[in-house]
């Protein structure tokens, strides 16, 4: 079997384990390439049946409009259930402090909405598109990652995960985060997108965009949330997005890549990691991701 066939088979096996082991699973859908691949894999795992889970999106209000449009079209086209919950509503209900500063991030705030939607629907498993190559704390997380009733990850209490046997047994109130594409790298995802001819939101490909350069030399999109300073110089740059997170914490990369082939060629050449190139939220500290996961984040 080719390596992509093996990765695909492993992911489908995991998705079917979720369907077999849980009563109320959900697939967390962000509109990004990784969760789009998950949907594609779910089609292969369950058609001609319906998905045994709804698609759930935590809408931060800072999402790219292209990703939102893609999300809505996809759910309609597949005739699958889509549940959307808004971080803005959580902020109002819980009287939380919205993100502040030049790039007011809702990255931390979305954990509240995520935990609320899990409680609202009593989801016992949430499938996500996180990959172990993204970040070194993720490299240590199980494929079936048990979270307590506060959604917290405890790296010291992880269950051993042997062979392809997944233990999803939990108590009432707990949930399991499931990562079917744990063993895929960014390049594997793109090779799969190419092989399967999967359509993506347009922002993954080169386009002209008004940006400002941050102090770390990253290109940030100018939008209604970013607080421009007098010294900021707005430039029109040819960019694309390597990851589709929030507009307020995801940087664009300069690129001329028009096609999936162009992107694969670009990635083979690049010297900077996916999160390093695009995320502002991981730069805070060495253990930023480990700490967020302990707090209930994906």
């Amino acid at each position: 079997m080719d390596y992509l066939d093996q990765l695909e088979a492993e992911a489908i096996y995991i998705l079917r384990e979720v369907a077999g082991q849980f009563e109320r699973p959900a697939l967390l859908f962000s509109g990004g390439k990784d969760s789009i691949c998950l949907v594609h894999l779910a089609l292969k795992a369950f058609r001609p049946g319906k998905f045994p889970f709804p698609l759930v999106h935590v809408d931060t209000g800072h999402n790219f409009p292209e990703a939102i449009e893609y999300r809505d079209n996809l759910a309609k086209e597949l005739e699958e259930k889509l549940i959307v919950r808004y971080v803005a509503d959580t902020i109002k209900e819980k009287n939380l402090q919205d993100g502040k500063g030049k790039f007011p991030s809702r990255n931390g705030l979305q954990t509240y909405t995520l935990l609320d939607v899990i409680n609202e629907f009593e989801f016992d498993a949430c499938i996500g598109g996180a990959r172990r190559d993204e970040e070194k704390a993720r490299a240590k997380e199980r494929i079936f990652s048990v979270r307590d009733e506060f959604g917290q990850w405890d790296p010291k209490k992880q269950r051993p995960e042997l062979w392809n046997i997944y233990n999803g047994k939990i108590d009432q109130g707990e949930n399991v985060r499931v990562f079917p594409i744990s063993n895929w790298t960014e390049l594997d995802v793109w090779n799969y997108i190419k092989r399967e001819n999967i359509q993506l939101p347009s922002i993954y490909f080169t386009h002209e965009r008004e940006c400002i350069k941050t102090e770390h030399g990253q290109w940030m999109n100018v939008n209604e949330f970013v607080q421009l300073e007098p010294t900021d110089k707005i430039e029109k740059v040819k960019v694309r997005y390597r990851t589709v997170g929030d507009m307020t914490c995801t940087a664009a990369v300069e690129s001329e890549a028009h096609t999936v082939d162009d992107i694969i060629a670009e990635l083979k050449d690049t010297k900077i990691s996916e999160r390093g190139a695009t995320r502002m939220d991981d730069r805070v500290s060495e253990a930023a991701m480990e700490d967020r996961k302990k707090g209930g984040y994906f």
Binding site: Q6, G20, A45, P155, I165, N167, T185, S273
Partner: protein, 414 residues
């Protein structure tokens, strides 16, 4: 392109994490931003100006603070020839369960030996665990050759000692490579420091080593994960059994035995991704339809009729105890084999396996963290299985504590 999964085992000081760091670094699998972070970290942990490559794999704060690997870390790299998945596992005895876990899913074991110390208790323990997990191929990396002046005799002596020791095990294949992970000798490229060594570098070895795929030629096995019943108007009678072919292959028209209900039927149709296929092979996810309406649900096993599959409620196995809390006689357990689950108890602890010499010793009836014991297990439902040495997919299981839900043991049916 092929996929090779391997695991590395080594003592804290054997330079295991450094070796992996070196593989990633020299294969240009590390991005510049991560290198920058490492350089910063190396300075802050007091290691000299050289980048501390071990920091690449030790991803948790506690690991970085203590300078040791605690949990399995998965790392990835790709060359023009292969994609590699590395399970980087701790070598220290107190983390034996993590090593067993990391090893369970791999095709190759790399056992690191410090050239200065030769075969140690650690080497023996790691090799014996690889043996129990049934790894088809062990590569002994004789590392830190720079610290023994790249001496051929040192290498040959260790090779001889290991070969002698390995005679008592059932390892299918053993290979040897001299390296220095710290200086990079013979990791990616041949080294001028080792002119007497004619074999492949570690990198060349990994790219060319034959991947054993026993499961392709083994007896055919399929287990149901999930029953697909759309119950729509058009697909009113559709009932498909979704799962992966565990080993061997199945064809349309095959007469099959269905376990544990022990009935026979015929494969009416095999679907893969919406297409009907004539035949499906080991590893492929499919949906199987059968011609009779019999009781089939999650965990049901399909095999060819008149097959050697064993179906029992009592059987012997080697288990590795993985829970911090020791086994309590009468403890209520669940046994999970792929998607099959049943209530189970450990009836008897027959022998304890000494993981330094692989000998059986009388058991005192206890089962503590990291112990390997031969036990007798009794299940509530009939288990359909093969011996682990014949089939890793149907001969392996985990035990779950019914009360805490934790995975408390891993077992191989012996």
């Amino acid at each position: 392109m092929e996929l090779l999964r391997f695991f590395t085992a080594g003592n804290v000081d054997d330079g295991k994490s450094t070796l992996i760091g070196r593989l990633l670094y020299d294969s240009k699998s590390i991005s510049t931003d991560i290198l920058e972070t490492l350089t910063k970290q190396s300075k802050s942990t007091g290691v000299d100006a050289n980048i501390d490559l071990a920091l690449l794999t030790d991803g948790l704060r506690a690991e970085r603070e203590q300078g040791i690997t605690i949990d399995v870390a998965y790392k990835y790299f790709t060359t023009d020839k292969r994609k590699f998945i590395i399970a980087d596992t701790p070598g220290h005895v107190q983390y034996t369960r993590n090593m067993f876990t990391g090893a369970s899913n791999t095709d190759l074991a790399i056992v690191l030996v410090d050239a200065r110390h030769g075969i140690t208790e650690q080497t023996r323990r790691h090799s014996i665990i690889s043996n129990i997990v049934g790894i088809p191929h062990v590569l002994v990396c004789i590392n830190k050759m720079d610290l023994v002046n790249y001496d051929e005799e040192v290498y040959n002596k260790i090779k001889e000692d290991y070969t002698h020791f390995a005679e008592s095990l059932n390892l299918k294949k053993v290979s040897f490579i001299p390296t220095s992970a710290l200086t990079g000798d013979n990791v990616v490229k041949h080294s001028d420091n080792l002119p007497w060594y004619q074999g492949p570098s570690l990198f060349e070895f990994l790219e060319t080593v034959e991947i054993e795929q026993d499961f392709k030629t083994q007896e055919s096995r399929f287990q149901v994960q999930y029953v697909i019943r759309p119950q729509t108007e058009q697909l009113h009678d559709y009932r498909g059994y979704a799962g992966s072919i565990l080993s061997g292959s199945f064809k349309k028209g095959d007469k099959i035995a269905v376990h544990p209900v022990d009935l026979t039927t015929t494969i009416e149709k095999i679907e893969k991704f919406g297409q009907e296929v004539e035949e499906a092979h080991a590893g492929e996810p499919v949906i199987i339809h059968v011609s009779d309406n019999i009781d089939i649900s999650r965990g049901t096993t399909f095999v060819p009729v008149n097959d050697s599959l064993q179906t029992e409620k009592t059987f012997e196995a080697i288990v590795c105890w993985m829970d911090n809390k020791s086994f309590q006689p009468g403890q209520k357990l669940l046994l999970q084999q792929n998607s099959f689950r049943s209530k189970a108890v450990i009836k008897e602890i027959d022998n304890k396996i000494n993981i330094y010499n692989f000998r059986s010793e009388p058991s005192d009836g206890s089962l503590h963290l990291n112990d390997f014991c031969k036990v007798t297990i009794k299940t509530a439902e009939t288990l359909s299985f093969d011996e682990y040495t014949n089939n890793r997919k149907t001969g392996s299981f985990i035990l779950i504590n019914e009360n805490t839900n934790n995975t408390v043991a891993a077992g191989v049916i012996a």
